[in-house]
Symmetry: C2
Amino acid sequence: MDVRTVCLGVLTLGDATGYEIRKMFEEGPFQYFTDAGFGSIYPALKKLHDEAYVTLREQAQDNRPDKKVYTITPAGRAAFTAALGKAPGLDKFRSDFLLAIFFEHFLPPGMIEETIEERARWYREKLEHMQSCDRAGWGAGPVFVNQFGQAIYGAAVKFLEENRDTLIESAADRYETEATK
Amino acid sequence: MDVRTVCLGVLTLGDATGYEIRKMFEEGPFQYFTDAGFGSIYPALKKLHDEAYVTLREQAQDNRPDKKVYTITPAGRAAFTAALGKAPGLDKFRSDFLLAIFFEHFLPPGMIEETIEERARWYREKLEHMQSCDRAGWGAGPVFVNQFGQAIYGAAVKFLEENRDTLIESAADRYETEATK
DNA sequence: ATATAAATATATCATCCCGATATATAACGA
DNA sequence: TCGTTATATATCGGGATGATATATTTATAT
């Protein structure tokens, strides 16, 4: 799904500026399964405007850059519906952390524990954030997505907590063996 | 982690051609947390060769393009170790499926069930593949990574199976309400 | 009181990545 | 026999990433 389509989706929830869309991806309910930076959002909005899928009104502000508030058009809604109608692409889980753990024997001794600890903390924080999200007024879709996220991130936290010691010990054993060799 | 670094990692496991590296990403133990197509692997190998991180020997074959077998150099190993020494970037889970479910009210009636069913099947297949992987001779790192994957994909399957009906019913209710309105 | 960071708001740019496409042949099954 | 899969390389356009630039206010910290 390209950034243009996701922007259209966000705009079906209400008018927004590029900056606000970015915040949705960073802090809002979208952050766990999609992402886009300014470098993709601004060009996307420009193109959506060219295609007449959105309109914009510039709002002057004191001592700040003008706000560009975007509104989705009926054509934009139709395009978004059409895009959703196609079978979604495959889910992707990408983890440099797991790559590092896979090649764990290339890591300096203390770093395995530190890395796992840090990642477990990160997953725990994200999980707590999802749990604390106010579900009042949310529709069935957003609730399902939020709970799916909790299931996944919860499983990650649980696994890291239950299996970290085994890996750390096995790495420690290897270092000992190498030292006495 | 860029494709060059991941290629170096694969090459620490043994010499390989670009085609074989691709297969590792597609079928091997890497497929659940990293990915790269030919369009990234071949340029990456070319650059690694320029940087003297790999050497290559061309193996002529009958009626086939020459095989280019790449071997990692000591400098390549050092570069890979240095790259792993840095704190890994954040894990990313990206899902067009969840985006579609989030905007579930834009989907045609039957498609919600079909979409969830298809995705549950996909997660189940991936999970079974991970479970069937031969762990004999694997080190602690690869085992940890494989089991982490199983925990995550298992949680996804479980969630989809347990919650699909609730979402489908709530969508059906909405269609009824809209019809009688 | 003053420095420093963070938030608001836009935008660009190089670099890299993804997916599609091209080329060529062997092997295998329908 | 005809289509598909596997082997093996490579390129190319469009798009995404991450860093950087600009400018001001507000909040936090020293």
